[in-house]
Amino acid sequence: VIAASFDYVTPTRVGEAVALMREHGERARFLAGGHSLIPAMKLRRLRPQLLIDLGGIAELHGVHVGPQVVTIGALTTHGEIAASALLRSVAPLLPEAAKVVSDPLIRNRGTLGGALAQADPEGDWPAVILALDATIVAQGQQGERRIAADNFFLGPRHTALAPDEVLTAVEVPLPRTRGIYLKRMHPASGYAVVGVVVVLRRDEDGTCVEARIGVTGVGAYTLRAKAAEAQLVGSRLTAERIRAAAAVVGAQVQFIGDGQASAAYRRHLLPVYLRRAIEQVLKVGE
């Protein structure tokens, strides 16, 4: 497998990368970890003539904890997130989710920002980011802007990023109660066949005051299961209410299937995974 011929540049500042993209337009692609782009290039499904490698831009790396949010640089790898003691203490769902991203090779090269910009329907991070109510920071010609996760994913592999915008960081609000990412990994690809992220906030008497549920793997794109969330909020999270949430979790999903798991099977699995994820959250909470 040999990619079609291309040029390669390594800007050191985001502004430089943005300018290069504006100059070259559709013939150029940003390169982050490369774990989606490079295989596609090797199979010649994609043929960018210019790769703008973001890897040399220092400001895109690293984790920073502020008073209200933890900021994760877009080029932070899954492996770095998984191993971050800092994140483990302030936002443990992130390293927990990072640990089940595919395999060690991909975790060591693939990046958070790359995965979000790619917005694969079976990807892990979009569902996590949605459930955590995170904010995506992007920089383009017009400067920097913040996009709420809820407004970021527009469709299959389609995000709110403009073509010449660089996803620079992800801001996760603090504090968050514990969440769970329950993933069924595709035995070959490592993507989610079914992935459910559940983030719950309960008041002192155990009533659920906030529920955010991210769903991945089962449909054409990652989404929040708002109907299921509504079943949980205001409840004491009884078995009955969990069942009610599970019953509607697939309401907005257009199920997809492949050789490993048909659409019908995914439709069956999704409520099972939601129920099990909520049960795990409650168990961790005890």
Binding site: V1, S5, L43, A261, A264, H268
Partner: protein, 734 residues
């Protein structure tokens, strides 16, 4: 047997996705890749047949126009009378099994580098192959090139599993182009090409019926097998289903009435040929599923049904009722018992009952298998489609310093021969293993060979080395005896030293004294005339080391008359018959009935391959084989669309087992020697790939027995398990 012509590139008709149509040669792979895209091909789509059962029907799309039917051959195997056994039987079970199409998927894809040396006329071909000498001969035949000028080199091959055993179009193309261009030509398969164009394995549709008495005695088996051969015949394509599978269907059981019909069927898929186990996995899966079905039908313990049907240990050598094979040695019941003890069978059954009361579904699956290894003699090879002998070549060369080079025609591709062959030689020569170097995989260095397949490297290749070493010691003994002035029988050889036996008669003592005196006089005379001191010849001592004898063999100052100098022996060892290892595998699984997930909790493998030469390498073979067997049982399957397109020609979609899929594997052995070779050794390389799938599938079906599930085809993906439960429950969850 209908054998169609198989050209290195398709002429007019492409019969499977992956068949070459054109070659691009360039000075850089990137240029070649760009040039490939510039080729415009206009295909007229033709109807395809990819399922062997469907392709066998008279109205199926034809693969070879010159042959009316897609059925290449139909091979009947018969013994006794199944009809009579069936009339008298108390129970009858029928099964339809699909032993699915598998992609071998060696980590190193096939790769060929050919170079023509115009000055010498030599053609050197490096190839990632399991059989360099046979590739050399076939290249000579196909290219009409003088074989003595071809060298095939296959160093450190990165996995083969049978898929790198046979001649491929790319070997022919690279060699031909290198010859014609006078430039080196290299080709390495991409991963997708490896999926599409490297031989696949298995792919049988099996319809069978087994009849038994109420006590569990199996009295007859009837099977009709439709085996996919792919679009063309590969080296052993027909033999795998016809002989390796068809003649092995009765496994470790004494079943007298056999009626088997094997159809080899052309389809529009990649060629199907040897893949680790090659026919025995298909046979073993069939009989082991059937034995479990009989046990279930009769409400008997599957372990007990196996015991009742085992070929008894006093029946060996056991000639199959079909008269095809003779099992050399076996002792099945203690081997099964060892596996059951290791897994704690009775406690597991108790736990299973307890879990069932809690609504949890744990199952225990057993597979007792036998297979044949060290394929040969030549007549048997010819029968299964190989046009060459069953021998293996070995050579043991002792250097003048006493260091040793061992040459073997077996060709390592991950088996660790450099260690195991050195161990065999070290033991046989009484030398430290580091004094021995092993050479293989290069036709310029190793004169002859047949290669590595059918777990033959230890029983055949290893025996060849052992026999060469024995000849070395015999000759060394004559040289040592002569030097020491005694008869060869007066020496004992141990730990690298030829020694005089402690007690000797007075006549030999006197003869030796005379000899010593004579040489002393000769020595003095030589010194006087020439001024040189004669080298020490050992006569004064009572012992000579191997290295001293090696030196004497090359510096022939005192050498036995009529004996050639040198210590260098070669052999073409032809085994008298095949060896039949056996074993018992037990799996315990728990099934999550809500998702269909199968969790392997215990996995026990107790093999019997006679002598174990290297326990670590043996365990490695079992671990790797269990992984591949688990892949077949739970994960893998090459699926062709109705248009003949392979779905999932990559690692993103075809689910090979990864480390996380592999359970803890508990291994053990019993040792039943083969009388057929001096090492007592049988092959082990394919055992676990053969025995693992039935153990796992039987375990899952055992787990789901209370839910009424009686059959699921491999791979037992979670979805298939879940929907089988669903269907058995008469549900409509789908």
């Amino acid at each position: 047997l209908h054998a169609p012509e198989h050209h290195a590139l398709a002429i007019d008709t492409v019969r499977f996705q992956g068949e070459g149509i054109a070659v691009v040669v360039a000075e850089h792979p990137a240029i070649a890749r760009d040039a490939l895209e510039a080729i415009e091909v206009k295909y007229t789509p033709l109807p395809a047949a990819s399922d062997p059962r469907e392709a066998a029907r008279p109205d199926a799309p034809g693969v070879h126009a010159d042959h009316g039917s897609n059925i290449a051959f139909s091979f009947p195997i018969k013994a006794g009378s199944f009809v009579r056994a069936s009339r008298r039987a108390d129970v009858r079970v029928g099964l339809r099994l699909h032993n699915q199409n598998l992609v071998p998927g060696a980590l190193e894809p096939r790769s060929v580098l050919a170079e023509y040396h115009a000055s010498t006329g030599q053609l050197t071909v490096h190839s990632s192959t399991q059989a360099p000498h046979n590739i050399k001969r076939m290249l000579a035949d196909v290219l009409r090139f003088p074989e003595q000028l071809i060298r095939v080199v296959a160093p450190d091959v990165g996995g083969g599993f049978g898929a790198k055993l046979h001649l491929y179009p790319e070997e022919v193309l690279c060699a031909a182009i290198a010859r014609d261009l006078g430039r080196p030509v290299k080709w390495t398969a991409t991963r997708s090409e490896d999926f599409l164009a490297t031989n696949h394995g298995r792919d049988h549709i099996q319809e069978l019926e087994v009849v038994a008495r109420r006590d569990g005695t199996i009295t007859g088996i009837k099977a009709e097998i439709y085996a996919n051969l792919g679009a063309y015949l590969s080296g052993m394509g027909p033999g795998v289903p016809a002989v390796n599978c068809g003649m092995m269907l009765t496994g470790v059981y004494k079943i007298r009435n056999v009626e088997v019909l094997v159809h080899g069927v052309y389809t529009h898929t990649s060629r199907v040929d040897t893949y680790r186990g090659a026919g025995r996995p298909e046979a073993t899966y069939l009989i082991e599923r059937a034995v479990d079905a009989v046990a279930r039908e009769l409400g008997l313990d599957p372990a007990e049904v196996r015991r009742r049907n085992f070929i008894p240990s006093d029946a060996f050598p056991y000639r199959l009722p079909t008269r095809g094979f003779t099992y050399d040695s076996g002792d099945y019941a203690p081997n099964l018992q060892k596996a059951l003890d290791l897994v704690g069978y009775d406690e597991l059954r108790e736990r299973q009952a307890a879990l069932r009361r809690e609504g949890r579904y744990m199952g225990i699956g057993i597979c007792t298998y036998t297979e044949f290894t060290g394929i040969g003699p030549g007549a048997v090879l010819n029968m299964i489609g190989f046009q060459y002998g069953g021998w293996e070549y070995g050579r043991v060369q002792v250097h003048a310093t006493g260091k040793v080079t061992v040459y073997s025609g077996s060709a390592d591709h991950g088996q660790g021969h450099a260690t195991s062959f050195a161990q065999i030689a070290a033991d046989a020569l009484g030398l430290p293993v580091e004094d021995i170097d092993v050479v293989q995989g290069d036709t310029a260095r190793v004169g002859f060979g047949n290669g590595t397949f059918n777990s033959r490297s230890m029983p055949v290749g290893g025996t060849a080395i052992k026999l060469c070493c024995d000849r070395i010691i015999a000759k060394g003994r004559r040289i040592a005896a002569h030097a020491l002035g005694v008869q060869p029988r007066e020496l004992i050889y141990a730990d690298g030293i030829f020694r005089l036996r402690p007690r000797r008669g007075s006549v030999p003592m006197a003869a030796r004294a005379i000899g010593q005196t004579r040489r002393r006089i000769v020595g003095m005379a030589v010194k006087k005339v020439s001024g040189f001191v004669m080298p020490t010849d050992g006569l004064d001592s009572d012992a000579l080391s191997f290295a001293e004898v090696a030196r004497l063999a090359h510096f022939v100052s005192t050498f036995p008359k009529g004996l050639e100098p040198g210590l260098d022996e070669q052999i073409f060892y032809e085994p008298s018959d095949m060896t039949f290892p056996f074993g018992s595998y037990v799996a315990a699984v728990e099934v999550d009935v809500e998702t269909g997930d199968v969790q392997v909790e215990r996995f026990v493998a107790v093999d019997d391959c006679g002598t174990i030469i290297n326990p670590l390498l043996a365990r490695g073979q079992i671990h790797g084989g269990v992984a591949q067997g688990l892949g077949q049982a739970l994960l893998e399957g090459a699926v062709y669309t109705d248009d003949g397109i392979l779905e999932g020609d990559n690692w993103m979609r075809y689910a090979f087992p990864r480390a996380a899929h592999i359970p803890h594997i508990e291994t053990d052995h019993t040792v039943t020697l083969t009388p057929l070779n001096p090492l007592g050794v049988k092959g082990l390389g394919e055992a676990a790939t053969i025995a693992t799938p039935p153990a796992l599938v039987n375990a899952v079906l055992d787990a789901l027995a209370p839910l009424g599930v009686t059959h699921i085809d491999m791979p037992l993906s979670a979805e298939r398990v879940w929907s089988a439960i669903d269907q058995a429950q008469g549900g409509n969850r789908l």
